[in-house]
């Protein structure tokens, strides 16, 4: 017979270890192994050499790597200055009951979130496409030109911006919901008291709501960074990184190098950079917003 404590330990192991094993094996181990592979010249088959930081040296001279990095930063900017303000603004309107029909608007804005990114990507590339593109037809009518063709998706200098728009289109509803749930936790009596004392809507907004919501702002910025660094499906299904690598993201470029030209070592070095850059960006955004938070507290 087992003692009570031994029994408890055994049960704990049975409850926790399967998950932990699965997670370490399929998530943590691959990340660490990827760091190692990034320092080899492996091509996917046969032997490979350990070449230290050589891959990274090549990477820092690789033009496409910087295009991809720039596009990831565009995604972060589109999320931070697109999705978050739009989501917040709508949440605020709905929450303060400045407009009616809350449940309707709330569920409609969230709808794109439940449709797969692949479907969204194909849908929008059809809207933007020169052949049947709904937008081409619409703009053609507006401008009074027959057979008007939208020039964006074929233009290496412009193609990333419609993709950023789709990003904002799909995820704004998600940020709206995060802010709605945060707004529900606001000290309602405080706002009412301020309103009775004659505070204007703008005063309530800047003096009460923003300070209280600051941690949510911080969270959503972290979310938009980690979400943007994870982006892959949207670009992969819309442009495959083209034309001429102009819409490549770090993740799609990693895919391209690894599974299309079989440079596993180089691809892994890109993977490593994705992790490093994510950690750096998330860390610095928390530090930056933390300063704002501290200043806010010091002032009040």
């Amino acid at each position: 017979m087992l003692t009570r404590e031994a029994n408890k330990r055994l049960s704990y192991i049975i409850l926790v270890v399967p998950t932990l094993t699965l997670f370490l094996l399929f998530v943590i181990l691959p990340i660490l192994y990827s760091f190692f592979l990034g320092m080899t010249d492996w091509s996917g088959y046969g032997a490979f050499k350990f070449i230290g930081l050589q891959n990274f040296r090549v990477l820092f001279a690789d033009r496409v790597f910087f295009i991809a990095l720039r596009n990831n930063i565009y995604f972060i900017l589109a999320s931070t200055f697109g999705q978050i303000p739009v989501g917040f603004f709508i949440a605020y309107l709905l929450h303060r009951k400045l407009v009616a029909g809350r449940v309707f608007f709330e569920s409609m804005f969230f709808l794109p979130m439940v449709v797969s990114t692949i479907v969204i990507a194909i849908l929008w590339s059809n809207i933007f496409s020169p052949q049947i593109g709904a937008l081409s037809v619409f703009l053609g009518r507006l401008l009074g030109k027959r057979n008007y063709v939208l020039p964006w998706m074929d233009n290496p200098n412009a193609a990333i911006f419609p993709i950023c728009f789709v990003l904002v289109w799909k995820y704004s509803g998600f940020y709206m919901l995060i802010y709605l749930s945060a707004l529900q936790k606001l000290p309602q009596d405080m706002i009412e008291a301020a309103a009775i004392d004659g505070a204007r809507e703008s005063q309530i907004f800047f003096r009460i709501i923003i300070p209280v919501l600051w941690t949510t702002v911080q969270t959503t910025i972290v979310l938009s960074i980690s979400g943007s660094m994870r982006a892959f499906d949207l670009v992969f299904a819309m442009t495959r990184g083209g034309p001429a690598h102009s819409t490549e993201l770090l993740a799609t470029y990693m895919y391209n190098k690894t599974f299309e030209v079989y440079r596993y070592g180089y691809g892994s070095a890109i993977s490593t950079m994705i992790v490093v850059i994510s950690v750096l960006l998330i860390g610095s955004s928390m530090w930056l917003t933390g300063i704002r938070g501290r200043a806010e507290r010091a002032r009040s």
Binding site: S11, Y12, I14, L15, V16, T19, L20, F23, F26, V27, I28, P30, I31, S34, V86, L98, V99, F105, S107, M108, F109, F110, L111, P112, V114, S116, T117, I118, V119, I122, L123, W124, N126, I127, Q131, G133, V137, W169, F174, L177, I178, A182, T219, V222, L223, S226, M229, R230, F232, D233, A237, L250, M254, Y255, Y264, G267, S271, T272, I274, V275
Partner: protein
């Protein structure tokens, strides 16, 4: 007064405009799926003149959407069942057993919420190849479960921690083993959070793309997302069938959303805010 009305009108206009921008593309997708290819090429903005259901039967059999739908259901459902059971067991272990190691395990799991998953793809591919399950259903289902564990465990642990200790203490005194407690007491009480985990996991797995794309290669193992991109990608000529296939892939999740809106939204927000 006039200023207030003006502001009000502007706000409504903004919201309605935004709602239109959100809904019209989806509406356009839905109506286009009933048009003939000719009608789409002729005027992509017009409504269908007759409801052309043939697109759906073509997509279902010709573009193999029926097969892919079956695979998507198998992947999403089997991964979800394991995810829910493991989340609750791990959530129970980490939430109720006061061992110091719990905190460490919990932090490691939460890392999974911000890790860029694409950094794991190459080693994961090699691992699945080494254990000889590449291009089988297991190659998709096992990673699905592993990657869903952080969110599932987090939701379950937060819920189970709030269950009063007295409930299980009395069971312990009655001589109940901890695994019996998990099965007979925790699982029934945790039903609401299981529901949340189930819906979110199912949705995520259904819409997932890259694991199926990389870890399977036989046509017979592809899912809806991957099949869509193969047969109805941006370079297709049969737009009508493509739109029908896209509706087939999305409609189940849209229906699920309208049925389970509350738990879905709650779970997604809770998971996001922690991550």
């Amino acid at each position: 007064m006039i200023r207030k009305i003006a502001v009000h009108t502007l706000l409504y206009l903004f919201l309605i405009g935004f709602a239109f921008l959100t809904l019209y593309p989806l509406f356009w997708l839905f109506t286009s799926s009933f048009k003939t290819n000719q009608e789409i090429l002729l005027n992509s903005l017009a409504l269908p003149t007759t409801l052309h259901f043939q697109n759906y039967s073509e997509a279902w059999s010709l573009a193999r959407m029926g097969l892919f739908a079956r695979n998507s259901v198998i992947y999403a459902a089997s991964a979800t069942v394991f995810t829910v059971l493991l989340s609750v067991s791990t959530g129970y272990g980490l939430g109720k057993f006061r061992y110091r190691v719990s905190g460490v395990i919990y932090s490691i799991l939460l890392l999974g919420l911000i890790i860029p998953i694409h950094a794991t793809l190459i080693p994961l591919f090699l691992l699945l190849k080494t254990i000889r399950i590449l291009d089988t259903m297991a190659a998709v289902i096992l990673p699905y479960i592993a990657f869903a564990m952080p969110l599932g465990t987090f939701l379950a642990a937060t819920y189970i921690r709030d269950i009063p200790d007295e409930m299980e203490e009395s069971a312990v005194i009655d001589g109940c083993g901890y695994l019996r407690i998990y099965w007979n007491i925790i699982l029934p009480i945790a039903r609401p959070v299981m529901m949340t985990i189930m819906i979110i996991t199912f949705l995520n797995n259904w819409n997932e793309f890259i694991f199926v794309f990389l870890f399977t290669s036989s046509l017979a193992l592809r899912s809806l997302s991957v099949g869509l991109l193969m047969f109805a990608g941006p370079y297709t000529k049969n737009y009508a069938m493509q739109f029908a296939a896209m509706v087939i892939a999305s409609l189940p999740m849209i229906c699920m959303y309208f049925v389970f809106r509350k738990p879905m939204v709650k779970g997604m927000v809770a998971g996001a805010v922690k991550g």
